[in-house]
């Protein structure tokens, strides 16, 4: 049952077995799984059914970079618009990128201080497969055999496979047939549908919206007595639950805990709540690849563009082998390739022509003889693009440029100084806002140039091309925080560890200090890979639900 908090005005208190806080990907999966059990479940969502900008204001926080206020901070972080409040949470506008974390992400790495998970990849891998149901992923695209199935060679460019892997990232959500050959074939899963269309709803299970959990009250900081819920319409209620599960993301989970309990916050006995914040240092401006020929550039773009695989679209990228990362003390880093959008590219011209014909916009069709000839010259490749559902130009006979853009994305090395704490300022519901004091360390700043050098070596050895680094790369690296968006994937603020001295939750996501508190969000990641966190959050949610039932 989906219900507005104001409709519960006449009920004295809300009671349940499990109170899940936050209706994003993790909260939705947990609700769906737990509501099939004997337990009574309440899912609280701060926003409305649909995303409403009035509720987004509750996200507002402050930002420091390396402990200092920074004039460019508004360009760096967009608290208000990045994380969404409403059923489905941020899956209302996410990119949908899914691939499992690597074995190395879970390991204690001696060159990365504070690395290591209390579980292994093998522990989590079965839950990734189970999560595919929610993420609408039809095939195990991470298997090497997939290359043969879609007619590509896995090592077409003869890159040194002792150094790099080519890995597919899958976009969550089945494609609609009509999306082939459109500029954007996005049909990303919005988790809201699992709540709105829930088929296993029992009367005692409730999804309550406009219900922000502002505080968890505990007499002794060992057990939560109840939670305080507020709406933007002035309603306040208490919720009594046998167990609370916080699944409201890397910013809100520490914020709730620091606003709760007594003294320095709930579950914060060792001053770890909010610490070890990690984002995803990334940039498209660090380096470029200049291929030795236009044909090589075209081949690269063909392989590293979007591919339709079964019911999904997938895109490969380069990652570095475990042994190579170990040998060179690298952060786990992903490299994507992107060509330039050329409006006079034959594939784009053909796409536009096709769209105009399908939409009967005959007035728009105004092709020059040269453009017709370009289409005719490349007709085989264009037909292959349509057949395979490719979305980017590839394999054409007249590729436009040797230059290929490189998108760099890396994990961030966890550091205790990188943290979230409470500001003195309060939001509309009386909760203290957050301050993110974001710190990058030397490893984060050395990694881009190391990666550029290794890529130059790999592409040079394979006679593919040369790596050109940005003119002012050192300056860019020194001001890394100023040139990227840190707000997309907040992680690590209530990290998982077997030892209570090192973490907020144990390997089963249960608090080390509060006997009826669980956390399921990217905030429990000790390290964050370079992959988007949502798929791993989903796997953790399924694992937790099976642990609890």
């Amino acid at each position: 049952m989906i219900i507005d908090l104001k409709k519960l005005q006449n009920i004295e208190d809300i009671k349940c077995d499990f109170c899940i806080v936050g209706a994003g990907a993790a909260g939705t999966i947990l609700y769906d799984k737990l509501s099939k059990s004997k337990f009574e479940i309440v899912l609280l969502e701060s926003g409305m059914v649909d995303v409403d900008e009035n509720y987004q204001e509750l996200n507002k926080g402050e930002l420091l970079l390396q402990g200092k206020d920074n004039i460019n901070k508004d360009d760096v972080i967009d608290y208000v618009n990045m994380r969404l409040r409403g059923l489905g949470g941020t899956t209302n506008h996410w990119g949908g990128q899914c691939f499992p974390f690597y074995e190395i992400d879970f390991l204690k790495r001696n060159w990365i201080k504070n690395s290591g998970w209390p579980i292994s990849r093998d522990d989590l891998y079965p839950y990734y497969k189970k999560a595919n149901e929610y993420f609408e992923i039809s095939k195990d695209v991470w298997h090497e055999k997939i290359w043969e199935e879609i007619g590509l060679e896995s090592n077409l460019l003869k890159l040194n496979n002792n150094k790099v892997n080519i890995t597919f990232g899958c976009r969550a959500g089945f494609l609609k047939k009509s999306t082939a050959m459109t500029i954007s074939g996005w049909n990303v899963v919005n988790f809201k549908k699992y709540l709105v269309n829930s088929k296993n709803d029992k009367p005692n299970n409730k999804i309550i919206y406009d219900a922000t959990l502002t505080k968890l009250v505990s007499e002794n900081n060992n057990h939560i007595n109840y939670g305080v819920i507020k709406s933007l319409h002035g309603i306040e209620k208490k919720i009594f639950a046998k167990n609370f599960i916080l699944s409201s993301g890397g910013y809100e989970v520490p914020r709730i805990l620091l606003n709760s309990g007594k003294g320095k916050g709930l579950a914060n006995n060792n001053d770890l709540v909010g610490r070890y914040y990690v984002g995803h240092p990334n940039s498209l401006d660090f380096m470029k690849l200049i291929c030795n020929t236009k044909e090589i550039a075209a081949k690269l773009m063909w392989n590293f563009g979007w591919h339709k695989i079964d019911k999904n679209e997938s895109r490969p990228h380069l990652s570095f082998k475990k042994s190579f990362q170990e040998k060179n003390s690298l952060l786990n880093t992903g490299i994507w390739f992107a060509g330039h959008d050329e409006k006079n590219h034959p594939i784009y011209i053909a796409k536009q022509l096709r769209r105009d014909l399908l939409n009967k916009n005959f007035k728009n069709i105004d092709l020059s003889t040269k453009e017709y000839l370009l289409i005719l010259k490349n007709i085989d490749e264009i037909l292959l693009n349509i057949k395979r559902g490719y979305f980017n130009p590839r394999g054409v006979k007249n590729p436009m440029l040797e230059e290929v853009d490189i998108f760099y994305s890396a994990e961030q090395a966890p550091s205790k100084d990188s943290r979230i704490y409470l500001s003195d300022k309060k939001d509309m519901l009386g909760m203290n806002k957050i301050v993110l004091d974001w710190h990058l360390n030397e490893l984060d700043r050395e990694n881009p140039l190391k990666i550029a050098e290794h890529l130059a070596s790999i592409f040079g050895e394979a006679n593919v091309g040369k790596i050109v680094v940005a003119e002012n790369l050192q300056e860019k690296i020194n001001n890394f925080e100023n040139i990227m968006d840190a707000s997309s994937h907040p992680s690590g603020t209530t990290r998982m560890s077997n030892l209570k001295e090192n973490g907020v939750v144990d390997k089963n996501l249960k608090s080390h200090f509060v006997d009826n508190l669980y956390i399921c969000s990217s905030s429990v990641f000790p390290t964050s890979c370079y992959a988007s966190p949502t798929y791993s959050i989903g796997a953790l949610a399924i694992r937790l639900s099976e642990h609890l039932i």
Binding site: N160, E453, F459, G460, E461, N463, V469
Partner: protein, 122 residues
């Protein structure tokens, strides 16, 4: 934009160097069979308008790997231009594989490729 254009021209030169020498695989007859390197470098067709700029850039680098390259070349005994080409190609490949590169005009270039540029313009 100006520097991007400049860099592209520079990269093209390096690429021409490399591809020009690959082109020599097909050339069977030479006037001086013992000096494949001079023939190779002299035959490379590059734009002279950028010559001054290239010289300026190359002057910033020390010549130690150039000297090593010349010395290695002299002690090698090639029976044909094809032998020389394979030797050069393998040398460049190995240098890239071992990260033996320098950053020239923001571009990672193998030491041998820098040496070839020095011979031409230095």
């Amino acid at each position: 934009m100006k520097h991007i254009k400049k860099r592209r021209i520079f990269l093209k030169k390096i690429s021409y160097l490399f591809f020009a020498f690959i082109g020599f695989f097909t050339i069977k007859k030479f006037n001086d069979k013992n000096d494949y390197l001079s023939i190779f470098v002299n035959k490379i067709n590059l734009l002279d308008s950028q010559k001054k700029n290239i010289t300026k850039i190359l002057n910033k680098y020390n010549y130690s790997h150039y000297q090593k390259f010349i010395s290695d070349y002299k002690i090698s005994n090639f029976n044909s231009f094809e032998d020389f080409s394979i030797w050069l190609s393998e040398r460049i490949k190995k240098e890239y594989a071992k990260n033996e590169m320098v950053i020239l005009e923001n571009t990672f270039v193998s030491k041998t490729e820098v040496s070839l540029l020095i011979i031409k313009y230095g």
